[in-house]
Symmetry: C2
Subunit: 420 residues, 2 copies
Amino acid sequence: MSRRGFLALAGAGAGVAGGVALVGCDDASAGDAVDAADAVDVVAFHGAHQAGIATPAQDRLHMAAFDVTTDDRDELIGLLRAWTDAAAAMSEGRDVGEFGSMDGPYLAPPEDTGEAYGLRPSRLTITFGFGPGLFRDAEGNDRFGLADRRPAALRDLPHFPADALDPNRSGGDLCVQACADDPQVAVHAIRNLARIGFGTASVRWSQLGFGRTSSTSDAQVTPRNLFGFKDGTANVKAEHDELLDEFVWVAPTDDPAAAWLAGGSYLVARRINMHIETWDRTSLQEQEAVIGRDKRAGAPLSGGDEFASPDFDMTGAGGTAIIPPSAHVRVAHPAQNGGTHILRRGYNFADGTTGLGRLDAGLFFIAFTRDPDRHFIPLQTNLARHDALNEYIQHTGSALFAVPPGIEPGSFVGQQLFDR
Amino acid sequence: MSRRGFLALAGAGAGVAGGVALVGCDDASAGDAVDAADAVDVVAFHGAHQAGIATPAQDRLHMAAFDVTTDDRDELIGLLRAWTDAAAAMSEGRDVGEFGSMDGPYLAPPEDTGEAYGLRPSRLTITFGFGPGLFRDAEGNDRFGLADRRPAALRDLPHFPADALDPNRSGGDLCVQACADDPQVAVHAIRNLARIGFGTASVRWSQLGFGRTSSTSDAQVTPRNLFGFKDGTANVKAEHDELLDEFVWVAPTDDPAAAWLAGGSYLVARRINMHIETWDRTSLQEQEAVIGRDKRAGAPLSGGDEFASPDFDMTGAGGTAIIPPSAHVRVAHPAQNGGTHILRRGYNFADGTTGLGRLDAGLFFIAFTRDPDRHFIPLQTNLARHDALNEYIQHTGSALFAVPPGIEPGSFVGQQLFDR
């Protein structure tokens, strides 16, 4: 019995348990058995590209990286196949399997852990990525016979100035990004994939995000980060087909060794702690000079509305630039970075308190990029050197994954990598 | 300008940014200036009891405990007054003050940190509590002249069997429980109260909860905890006036030294880690025997539906009890605890991963009780000794606070404590 079926039986109706917004959901697809209320609440799992990249960003995140603990290629393939099947089911609001019934596996552990039973599909997307360690492990072994198919750009990101990375929050052989409008649905997804991975893959790190910080559709309102500013105003969005092709999707000719990655992308994850208490003691004038935008409306300091192009040449009294040279909006702008655009899909996080009584909070930055070497690394190098925001942030985690293309029914994620 | 005002101006409309459910909100009160869509999304801050206790449980939590860093009674009163005013504003969806405008304090830090600007009120409730340290600090000093008014039951909870408490997740002089349907609204509330407290109070610990695990109204669907079971079926709820009076609200005659607490309560917080991976390898039969309920429907193993009374005398084959002697539902039941009821208001949490690659996840237990000595402590002692669940959980944090009664307009939380 599906979660949806249970809802109908229980007469619980739409919106009671999950409390989800149904806006901006252009990519929803309705299976035959899915009723109308749930249909707009389902994002198609299958397609040319994996869901969770150019589909509208949901409100909540649970992401995990895994270390693969087997050296057996067939076990790895078995894991990817089981994960794919479970992800397809959960994306439609179905359980992974029986979770609790005398008719089910009563003397065995339930196949589904059950905590999402009765909740709506909540636009859950599950996006898989492959880390460098899948192609050659830390000792240099080609344990799965994949080394010759490693994408050239798939290696640990370089050290950027002021990086303070925690190895326990960095790297990983596999990653799973679960996004949903109900956090319990996202946590359930990661937890069930971890359960399926027992003995084959173990969780290396995981991160909850409670509020999206980017729009990935023109239909979405621009959200705010924990500095109180709108974030992602100039993001690459689902409607920008040309930008997606130029800056997000890997083309078939990009990397001869990694033709299997065509239609996929690279996922960059960066855990960026914000010095909340310091920021909160900073004047509004300083905050706006650091960002280069008006705090309330999100407009560039050079004028206009949120979506106006910044005028970096505009000067004020004494000939000084209205948008300072180190303002985040200037240093990050495509005009300062060879025209580079990035599709961001990050989340605000708050993980309690540090030993010093400060909030352990910030931005869990996620970006999808066609070529980290050409796009993300030069951009981040520029930011790490020049961005005025650096006084208020610290990068504490980092990972890079190759994201296989979309999955056809009957296949599994990354199957092209394993086919010879 | 209020958040609500901004919404109207921007034409953003209801539900776009926050995505909140509007169900089960009987306690909403509409101020004159609050429009109809927001009215059901506001829980009254003022009243006979503080909001966030017997009002319907929202979906998300951010709770923080603070150490008071001043020895000055007037500064403490100033903090409580400022917190009260800010909490009243935020509960109505208003900013704490100006957060970003050339007309505002441009050369000073913004009064509101801004990340909730444009979001709905989201049924935010803010509930304050006073810890033992407010009455006598760790060195035994009566720094605020309050020692003779300490409620007799307000002291550190005793050590229970198998407790593994982290001092950095325990205790505190003050606490703030912020609950809302949008986590960004709850995080914003705690963060702004922490900002107001700079120099007077510092955060000792804080905890996010992503999914409520109790219903506090008959109108709410019973949610599930991370063991996949319904939780809080037999909870004390807002509609149970007699149980609230007997087990939640402190009566004027309860404690002659602490008449100021009449109409208030005690808040017990326990961070309960769940051994998720162990549980997920346990058979359904064992899981149901541990809980004493059916996993799918939540019915007692003795039969009936979710809300049926458990029949502890029912026996099966060989005369063994259908509900085992150590089943959680039996050990926690009022019949086994002198008739004690507890109002629970806990949340599921997931704080990433332990160093061993396990999810750092579980239940952040919050309960409100009229008398910890008579109700919570005997119950928890019984559970710690006999509950079969102990094999799968570990208590890692603990705190107890006296929760002042409700706040009248113009006064501040706990004012009765300071009036002589």
